[in-house]
């Protein structure tokens, strides 16, 4: 630890590490220096001149955002000269600003508004006509209103540095300067909307949110994005039982402020016109809307009948439902339906990883590790497309800590740009490539290995052997596809002794097949037509009439992740809490549906209350590794689970051939993605699936 630098800010003695900027040192001492262009974590710009402060022995006022602390420095932030400089800066920023706050989306949460309120002059000496340019649409999600822009370059920097895309720039000069997209009149980018969120004014606005509401009319609910497995926290802005926007400006959650298009915009499936809002029961070959009680009775009576007749049940769980729901479903299947036939769609071989790491602790990397560890090895996955948060973390690690990144992938990836080694491999060529890198990897102080479904079964064991042979601390991340793929596995949605796997269940002559939140009959990707059902009675719980639901005897409309409470476990095994943001008429959370079925069957006593908190308490007591600290997740944080420290066995032995990732890109999200208007509206979505 280097010696701290001692300085004085506004008469307060302050100590800060060498290299700290005055603006940050002041913040640590509880002194706010206003700024627009300064943004923690991004490169310095010194464009807005708002952070000018007086420094003794320096002839002119200095920008606190670019001035490193020095021994004995005396800084003053509240002198009449500073106050005047702030006033003039704001007057200057407002010369061409339209002051259309009453109709601006940003009004009420605008940094310019707040600054003018606190530091600005009440009047302007500027009497000339303001330069006005009409607003432009860069993409379905990004709109640009040049006159409101204060040219802080935040959007340009977050896109260049944070996303690694570089889709925005500033063209022309002086009063005519404006933000420009990378393809003439439109954007071709990740469409993540980070530029909109980071904009301190209303210059960049969201196509989904614009003119929908005043910000103070919304309630903000912390939810976990239901799309990929990264588990980003998205704060949903809710008004009148409608979700109006998603963002994470309070930086809570493992993702900080990062969100991709799915987290920020793809909540919109919830009010898709095809959303199921009443239960359906097949009558004379056709699915007809019925009341909840009729539908539940139909399922319960049939289930009881099959139980009495000694029939076989198959149960298929979901990668999207909560831990509580998965836990309850497994208990239902095992204890009430007494069946070992239970499974879910596996998207990564977590089982093999945990198995290969048996006897070792603290070897599962977290999302934070990708930012903090000194080296990262990416195997197989194109993270920027499939796991955008992990890609963001690695990029930030490189920018801030110059982390060594190794990318061993089948095609070009975004990591190539700053990787110390990028290797292209054909399938089967991974281990040869790893051997070539061995010497360099051995020289690293520590390593995080990230791999996707290119590694399954024995390959995972071999990979762990390779990692362990490097002689350095190695942590692992096994990538899985959806918001709760890890949770489905951890809660035991896997076959019991003699149980059938998912693919076997689809082909088997079961008395009843119960599918909760999955679409196993959708068929193989690329092949038209769905798989025909074999089971004699099919019950499906889902949001939409999927290929699976279409074939069902009973369809029960389920609530989405944003319409229920519970917990989910992300791809790195971190548990986070979902809070119910809205209710959708007619749909019920899967936990409630299962509870009602149990009650109608007269079996609820064995399963306990279907209340998320109660079920979670049982999970913490009984599921290995889930004894996690509650304050952590109750305050919106993520708690890492500690997976089984010992051999994991799966009934019937491992079947790596059944593990396959859907490899959803940024604009696809399995069956759910088809119902998001935004994901289907952006240009890139049509180019890249």
């Amino acid at each position: 630890m280097p010696d701290l630098v001692k300085l004085t800010i506004d008469g307060k003695a302050v100590q800060a590490a060498p290299g700290t900027l005055v603006i940050d040192a002041a913040k640590m001492a509880g002194i706010e220096i206003p700024a627009f262009c300064y943004y923690e974590g991004l490169t310095l710009q010194a464009a807005c001149r708002m952070c000018l402060v007086e420094v003794e022995k320096m002839p002119k006022m200095m920008t606190a955002c670019t001035l490193p602390v020095a021994e004995g420095m005396v800084v003053r932030t509240e002198t009449p000269q500073v106050a005047q400089a702030r006033k003039y800066t704001l007057e200057f920023l407002l010369t061409n600003h339209p002051l259309d706050c009453p109709v601006c989306d940003k009004g009420g949460e605008c940094e310019l508004q707040d600054m003018v309120f606190r530091y600005g002059a009440g009047e302007s000496r500027y009497t000339e006509e303001k330069v006005h340019t009409p607003e432009k649409q860069f993409s379905p999600v990004v709109f640009f209103d040049a006159p409101r822009c204060i040219l802080c370059f935040r959007c340009v920097r977050i896109c260049n540095e944070g996303m690694g895309v570089g889709a925005l720039g500033v063209i022309y000069r002086g009063v005519l300067s404006e933000i420009a997209p990378n393809h003439g009149d439109h954007l071709e980018c990740d469409e993540c909307g980070a530029c909109i969120d980071i904009c301190p004014v209303g210059a960049l606005t969201s196509g989904i949110y614009r003119y929908q509401t005043r910000p103070w009319e919304m309630q903000h609910v912390g939810a976990i994005c239901t799309h990929c497995g990264d588990g980003c926290k998205t704060t949903l802005g809710v008004r009148n039982n409608r979700i109006i926007r998603g963002n994470n400006r309070d930086h809570s959650g493992i993702n900080g402020e990062f969100l991709c298009i799915k987290g920020r915009y793809a909540f919109d499936f919830y009010d898709h016109p095809e959303r199921l809002q009443a239960p359906l029961v097949r009558k004379n070959g056709k699915l007809e809307e019925v009341s909840w009680s009729e539908a539940l009775d139909t399922v319960a009576n049939r289930f009881n009948q099959i139980r009495a007749d000694g029939g076989t049940f198959g149960v298929i769980g979901s990668n999207h439902t909560t831990n509580e729901e998965n836990f309850y479903l497994r208990k239902f299947a095992r204890e009430v339906l007494a069946t070992p036939h239970i499974d879910h769609h596996r998207t990564g071989d977590v089982t093999a990883l945990v198995d290969a790491l048996s006897g070792k602790t603290g070897r599962m990397a977290t999302v934070a590790d990708l930012y903090n560890r000194k080296a990262v090895l990416v195997l197989g996955a194109d993270l920027a497309r499939e796991h955008p948060l992990l890609s963001f973390q690695i990029r930030a690690n490189y920018r801030h800590h110059q982390a060594h990144v190794y990318a061993v992938t089948p095609g070009p990836v975004r990591e190539d740009k700053y990787a110390v080694a990028s290797v292209r491999v054909a399938s089967g060529g991974y281990f040869a490539a790893l051997e070539d890198l061995r010497a360099r990897l051995k020289a690293e102080p520590e390593l995080v290995i990230v791999f996707d479904d290119s590694f399954k079964g024995p390959d995972v064991h071999r990979l762990v052997e390779f990692g362990e042979s490097l002689g350095i601390p190695v942590r692992y991340i096994c990538l899985v596809d959806y918001s709760n793929s890890r949770g489905a596995l951890d809660m035991g949605l896997v076959p019991g002794e003699g149980g059938m796997r998912l693919d076997e269940m689809l082909a088997a002559d079961l008395s009843a097949l119960w599918v909760v939140g999955a679409n196993p009959f959708k068929g193989t990707p690329g092949v038209p037509g769905s798989v025909a059902r074999k089971a004699r009675f099919l019950v499906v719980q889902d949001l939409f009439l999927t290929e699976t639901a279409e074939q069902a005897d009973v369809v029960l409309p389920a609530a989405s992740a944003y319409e229920k409470s519970g917990t989910v476990t992300n791809t790195t095994g971190e548990v986070q809490r979902l809070k119910r943001a809205i209710n959708t008429m007619g749909a019920k959370p899967d936990l409630e549906i299962m509870g009602f079925i149990a009650r109608q069957m007269g079996a609820a006593g064995a399963l306990g209350p279907w209340v998320p908190e109660t079920v979670f308490a049982e999970i913490r007591r009984t599921v290995h590794g889930y004894d996690i600290p509650l304050p952590e997740i109750d305050t919106g944080g993520a708690a890492p689970t500690t997976p089984v420290n010992g051999r994991v066995t799966e009934a019937g032995g491992p079947r790596p051939d059944l593990i396959r990732s859907d490899h959803n890109g940024l604009f696809a999200s399995g069956t759910l993605g088809r119902y998001s208007k935004v994901l289907n509206s952006v240009l890139e979505g049509r180019l890249d699936r």
């Binding site: 570089g166 720039g169 063209i171 420009a180 997209p181």
Partner: protein, 160 residues
């Protein structure tokens, strides 16, 4: 995109003039030389320069839209730039500008119908001691009066 051998040689020399990894420094001279050869900065040229110096086309666009000496549209064979900044203005540079516009029948950044002469009103070109000054392509003309301007323009017409 390919250029004349002379220009290619110039580009090679330029790209080697900067330390490794700083090739983007060659962007402005490359754009200027290429503009002289092509007549303007085309979209194709933007992409090509971006590729050669290792930046995005948008970054090239940021630079070229900032500088007034880089043009997206073709100029005349002779580009006449009249300074109306303070020193020239005090010596009737503004009247010179109006005279030029009237004589040629074109305005700021416009080209005559025959494509021979284009006009541009520019800021200070560093010739204050010899104000009012104009610049024809890369050559300066000093102490320009309306009469002298007529001669110069007529001369250009003849040369064309």
């Amino acid at each position: 995109m390919t250029f004349s051998p002379q220009l290619e040689a110039r580009f090679d020399k330029l790209l080697k003039s900067y330390p490794p990894g700083r090739q983007r420094s060659a962007m402005i001279p490359m754009l200027m030389y290429a503009q002289d050869e092509l007549g303007s900065v085309t979209d194709e040229l933007v992409d090509e320069v971006a590729r050669r110096v290792g930046v995005t086309p948008l970054q090239v666009n940021e630079v070229l839209s900032y500088y007034s000496m880089l043009h997206r549209k073709p100029l005349g064979k002779y580009h006449v730039q009249v300074c109306t900044n303070i020193s020239c203005l005090l010596c009737d540079g503004d009247k010179l500008w109006e005279h030029a516009c009237k004589k040629l029948g074109i305005g700021h950044k416009e080209v005559t119908a025959d494509g021979q002469i284009s006009l541009e009103e520019v800021e200070c070109m560093g010739a204050c001691s010899w104000a009012p000054a104009i610049q024809v392509n890369y050559d300066f003309e000093h102490f320009v009066t309306p009469e002298k301007l007529d001669q110069i323009l007529d001369g250009l017409r003849k040369k064309a």
